[in-house]
Symmetry: C2
Subunit: 201 residues, 2 copies
C-alpha cells in the first residue's frame, strides 16, 4: 500500500519541526503542526496557547479513559478538559488522515494512526546539550538551566504519551525510523525521510 502520511514525533529542541516542514515542502504534502493546534482550538473553544501547552503535556488522563465507549467518547462533557482535548485531537487527526497525503507533527499521531498501513512513523531525537544550544540560539528561549528545562519537558511528554497510549515514548518499536539529528544533521534527516517515502511507495 502506498505510503501517504508521515507522522513525526520529536524531542523538544531536536529540530523535528524544521525537518517535518522541509520534508513536507520537498514531497509537496500538507503540513499539520500549528494548523492542527488552530483546528483543535476552534473545535474545543479553548485558546490556542492553552492547546499548545496542554495538547502534549496534560498531567493525567481519567482513570477510566481506556474503557470509554464510542458514544461516551462522543459526549465529552463529563471528562476532564485534558481528556476532552485528547479526544478532539484524536478525532481531528483521524479525519486529516482520511483527507489526503500529509505530514503530522506530534500529538500521539503515531499511536492514533497505528492501524493504518499507509503511514510512515518517525521519531527525531538529539543529545540534550545540542538541544539546549538550539533552544537558546534558535528558539530564543531564555532560561537559566536549559538542560534541566528540557528534561522536565521530556518527562511531561513521556507522561502524556504513556497516559494516552499506554506505550513508552521513544522506544524504537513504535516507529519505522528514528534519527539522531545531532549526529546526522538536519539536511541528512530530511533526505533520508524523503528517499524512504519515495522508495517504499
Amino acid at each position: 500500500m502506498k505510503t501517504r502520511i508521515i507522522t513525526i514525533s520529536r524531542e523538544y529542541g531536536s529540530g523535528g519541526i524544521e525537518i517535518a516542514k522541509k520534508v513536507a515542502a520537498k514531497l509537496q504534502l500538507q503540513f499539520y503542526d500549528k494548523a492542527l493546534v488552530a483546528e483543535i482550538a476552534k473545535q474545543t473553544g479553548f485558546d490556542r496557547n492553552f492547546i499548545e501547552e496542554n495538547g502534549e503535556y496534560s498531567p493525567a488522563r481519567s482513570k477510566y479513559f481506556f474503557n470509554l465507549s464510542q458514544t461516551e467518547m462522543a459526549s465529552t462533557g463529563t471528562l476532564s478538559i485534558y481528556d476532552q482535548i485528547y479526544i478532539f485531537q484524536h478525532n481531528i487527526i483521524t479525519e486529516l488522515a482520511e483527507k489526503g497525503d500529509c505530514v503530522i507533527v506530534g500529538r500521539c499521531a503515531d499511536y492514533i494512526l497505528k492501524d493504518r498501513k499507509d503511514c510512515l512513523h518517525i521519531f527525531i531525537h538529539s543529545a540534550i546539550a545540542q538541544r539546549a544550544k538550539r533552544i537558546t540560539e534558535e528558539y530564543k528561549i531564555v532560561c537559566e538551566h536549559p538542560e534541566e528545562w528540557l528534561k522536565e519537558k521530556d518527562e511531561k511528554r513521556q507522561l502524556y504519551y504513556k497516559n494516552y497510549t499506554d506505550r513508552i515514548w521513544g522506544v524504537c518499536s513504535n516507529y519505522h525510523l528514528t534519527l539522531a539529528s545531532d549526529k546526522l544533521g538536519i539536511e541528512n534527516c530530511v533526505d533520508t525521510i524523503v528517499n524512504l517515502y519515495r522508495s517504499i511507495g
Copy 2:
C-alpha cells in the same frame, strides 16, 4: 570527525545480519560477526557454539561487575565465565575499532564504543510476525511456536544488554538510526545506511 565504524544491533529474525553484510560489502568495510565469535573463542578457549549462545544471552553479571578496576578486568580468573566472555568481547571490540573501518554486529558494540565519535550506531527491528516468518522460511528454524520462541530470545538479549550496559535495549536514544526492516524492506535499509555513512563524512 569521519565516521569509520558502523555497529548494528538487531532483533533476532529482523534481517539485521543480512543488512549488515550488504552494507559492509557496498562500503568495502571489514565485517565482524562470525569472525568476532571466532576471535573470542580463540582468546577464551571456549567453544564457538558456547560463545555464540552465551555472548549475547548470559543470565547475569556478577554484582560487583561495574566496580571492577582495570587491573581486575585484566585478571578475569575470579569472574563467572559469562563475565569473562563479556570482558574478552569488550577488549576485542575495542581493539577491532582501533584497527580499521568496519561493521560490527551485536555484542553490545554500540555501548562498548559509545565514547568514540567516529561510529554510527544502528538498531534493526521488525514486527514479530515477520520475524517468525523469516526464521522459519529463511533460517529454517523448526519450532512449534516461533513467536513465543522469539519473545524469549528478545527477553534474553534485553537482559544481557541491561546487565552489561545498564541501558535499555531498543530505546532509540542509544542509536543514531533505527529502522523497521519489515516496513522499509532490506534493500531500503541497506541504502539508507550506506547513504548516511557517506553523507555524514
